[in-house]
Symmetry: D2
Subunit: 324 residues, 4 copies
């Protein structure tokens, strides 16, 4: 009977702070619905390999405050092969997993959709610090990453303002400039360079000259990982001007993925975890849980797959206005 089948839960793709909070919510809500919950380790690889363990309420105690994921995560090459997907579904069913919650980013949600196609009812929870998942205003991990970036850039500003210096700060975001743009607003950057817009050294020089003319003695330029201009080239261009700023680069890198999740990420992950289990328990499968304004809602996977979330125009305009 479907009602007696266990709920499986796995994390997949790059880790994001709050994944553990989501796992905890899935487990405890599942138990409260009278279901067994089975954790799948190592993402889709573990689903194929049968790396399953039952999870009780105490197993997810004390994980709420921890970054990373207690179930481990991977990007699985093998799972791209549809034969492996079928195998995975069979193995999961054999272990008593009747429905599956997948916590991860864009690629992981595509994987969820593949499983749904092979007949395993799934619910996806978007977790990705890039905030590039379509169908949700916010993914798990974004808020913590932003606060980490804020902490880092506030530190760099100390040094920048002591030295009359321009810092070029690289944030994550290979295809999506959301993180960089919001960071630009909340850290008071002079300019933000994102993958979605063409940019070059001329833009940077104009921003710096402009800042200098308005009396600023230092500058923070935020460059998303996927922006269309090289940091080395930008540094040389800045130092070649006559505004008297030295240039330094800081690549924030993987520290953006870790850390104890922020209040908002813990709340969002908890809400999404509860909602995902409620959906599966009510037979509403093959959906993603999305944040729509202030509400957590279900979105059919079919509406999510293959679409890209782009940052709002409002953010571009705000960076310009507030850098005054």
């Amino acid at each position: 009977m479907a009602d007696e089948a266990a709920i499986g839960v796995l994390t997949s793709g790059g880790d994001a702070p709050g994944m553990n909070a989501a796992i905890r919510a899935v487990v405890r809500t599942g138990l409260q619905h009278g279901r067994k919950v089975i954790g799948v380790q190592n993402g889709y690889d573990g689903l194929i390999d049968g790396a399953y363990r039952p999870l009780g309420a105490r197993d997810v105690g004390n994980i709420l405050t921890h970054g990373g994921t207690m179930l481990y995560t991977r990007r699985s090459e093998r799972f791209l092969d549809p034969r492996r997907q079928v195998e995975a579904v069979q193995r999961a069913r054999a272990a008593g997993i009747g429905t599956l919650v997948i916590i991860g980013g864009e690629g992981s949600i595509q994987g969820a959709n593949a499983l749904a196609g092979h007949g395993l009812p799934v619910a996806a929870i978007p977790a990705s610090i890039d905030n590039d998942v379509f169908g949700t205003d916010l993914s798990i991990g974004v808020d913590t990453a932003l606060n980490t970036i804020v902490g880092a850039i506030d530190r760099l500003r100390d040094t920048a303002s002591s030295h009359n210096r321009a810092f070029l700060v690289e944030t994550m975001g290979r295809h999506c400039g959301y993180l960089a743009l919001v960071a630009g607003v909340v850290c008071g950057a002079e300019l933000v360079l994102v993958p979605e817009q063409k940019c070059g050294a001329a833009d940077v020089l104009a921003a710096i000259r402009n800042a200098h003319d308005r009396g600023k003695t230092n500058a923070i330029i935020i460059v998303a990982e996927g922006a269309q201009c090289g940091i080395g080239e930008l540094m040389r261009a800045i130092e070649a001007t006559d505004v008297g700023l030295t240039a330094r680069a800081s690549r924030l890198g993987h520290i953006q993925r870790g850390g104890s999740p922020s209040a908002l990420d813990r709340l969002l992950a908890s809400r999404m975890g509860v909602k995902a289990v409620q959906a599966l328990a009510a037979g509403q499968a093959n959906v993603m849980v999305g944040l729509d304004g202030n509400s957590v809602r279900l979105v059919p996977l079919a509406q999510v797959i293959g679409r890209k979330r782009a940052p709002e125009d409002e953010l571009f305009a705000m960076v310009r206005t507030l850098a005054l």
Copy 2:
């Protein structure tokens, strides 16, 4: 000419992290609209007393990252007198202030409405760590306060779990349990006591016994400032049980009001500051800027005054489920 009149800005009531970010956004957006911006110090007292100073773009440099408010804030007794309100409007007009942005909580927004009644076009920005302002999903300062609470309770949990101890943690919230409820979800509390619900020692004992029976060796109980039961009484009741927990109280107090604002509070404050000035510049006065889902919108002051925002039922249910 209205277009040439300056925009005034003041902060009023209890301080909240992000007020400075809102001031900065008001000043720079105002300047970009070609207006002069005048800062009013000491809240409504300063409006009466003429504590005005012009603010340029550089005057609000480096304040984005600071808690508190560079314009100082107060709860003004004098301003409750309508004659003082009229005086204040006259003085403001004489100083060239044509419109006024007020950043503050419920009482401050009532003050804004009074000014509007005396003919001064105003725009209010909700700032209050209690999140009790009607007409906005979120007020400035709430997210930072929540992260401060998370940091504090994560510390208390270290001690609680080392000692088999129950902590009764008092958060701010005299009339509104929002902060306590969200803190309960994001800190994994066993129980949350709020002003909106009757509660007593029996609830606390049941929660603790329940937690103990499920294998928990410590407990966090969150008590909003205005909850209807005394912490001393609760402590005695806990220690009188046979579950073997000692009880301690921690009143988080004023640390909840301070600190460098979180990424979300900086973003929210910036968006609201921009919107308030855009509204005044467009002649849309006597409004509050509210967050409605993901959008920043204008709400007529008349719809806000005298109404209370209550925490969502979803939060009450989540605390129970996730404490499993």
Copy 3:
């Protein structure tokens, strides 16, 4: 044979951040010396009750970064009875514990001395956020507690300076003013009240008037838990003056005990844990590990017991000078 006997380790008294780092260092250094290491849970109560578990290198993985103590801790009433102490030694020996490392504060070190008197070779490691243990410049937990206090008071300063307010901040320290005095220097307090000095409302009023005359518009007064004047009385005295400051109290409380240990506490705890095991392995028992300047040295327990560490006069003078 003594060489083959296991090393026991326990934590006792109030918890302090860094206790886990010390446990880890004891376990791994013990293993490297070819010894078994046995963890004793619940402090001296567990020693009496036989709450023992062997600890391997992996059992102490990931605890370095956590506050509190994985072995739990208590203040044991029973252990004050010498018959219980003898029982405890017999039980420990029967379990193969040949020597014992005790991590705790003043009372715990007295307990260690009692065990030594009953023939169990011990080494004590001072852990106490009050820094009141004689024979060491610094105890484990002090530095983390200071950074927690700094974080809290930096927040309060935001509010104090926004409101022209005096904050009376109570820190831990029932008998010892060290924590309060250093907090006074590093947070820029106007005055510090400690148990070691007489004080009254007159001192506070003089400091506040003085600060006001020098142009300060807010004040932070730090009051150690054991200071000889009541905070309520001080608040009333401040509000009765004409300098125009409102007064608020903030009792920092138990958050001072928790949190991920600072770099210095992790280093100190690691050094002390290594040294304690080296001492026992070399047959140098019945000692406390103390920090003497930059070196970690052994101090005979007999020299530590019954003596009090007092804060340096230099600190009293510095608070006065730097509050200028």
Copy 4:
């Protein structure tokens, strides 16, 4: 008269958290000795150019908590020329500066010695996050940098343990491995590579295989900036093994220089600032203030110049033991 001459103060070289706390202590202690204090901006360049401003007690209010330096800092090429040094001394004297406090690292202290040689009495305060200044156990900024590194690596560990990953983390330290070594102890690194020791991919592979054989599923390797092996090469070597770890690099970079100073750095800087002024007031010039164990003492500049501080052997051994 010497007694009536002003005390000058400048910061030089790379900025370090706590420089502002030292400036504040110099200013307020100077004023208490009845001296005028003059701030020199932009390091030695400003000394040459006459970028002087008098500093009162209020000018250094609120800087205690800020990273960076309110006096700005630079590495001055011009000042290497002895003719410029003579000019600087003449200009300083003409402005009433009778003695000078220099806050900075190794190169800055050499500059102080040069000024002393030209007849200007100086006192140096060591500030350098690398902790490479000879004659002091600790320089200002080291403790804050270590806590920043701890915060960053604790984040990376979340990701490393979620992915079975090895992180190669580059810390500052071009010539001195102190920061990397202590970071290794306090972050639980598997291995630390420093400029003072030969190292190669073989060491890294041995450490990782060793960790793997002991049951570890992730690894943190800390590499000081000046270590004798390239991170790219190390990464390729790790991924070529069969232990199944992926490798990632994280260069912490300039965030290590910034941030609000830790409690210890504020205390150290305050003590050193007080001592430097006391020395000059007592006619004990041409010294550096050093931390010797628990005491702040004066060291003749002649003993400091041209010597290097090396990390203690104890640290090398501890990394190995505790990585067990």
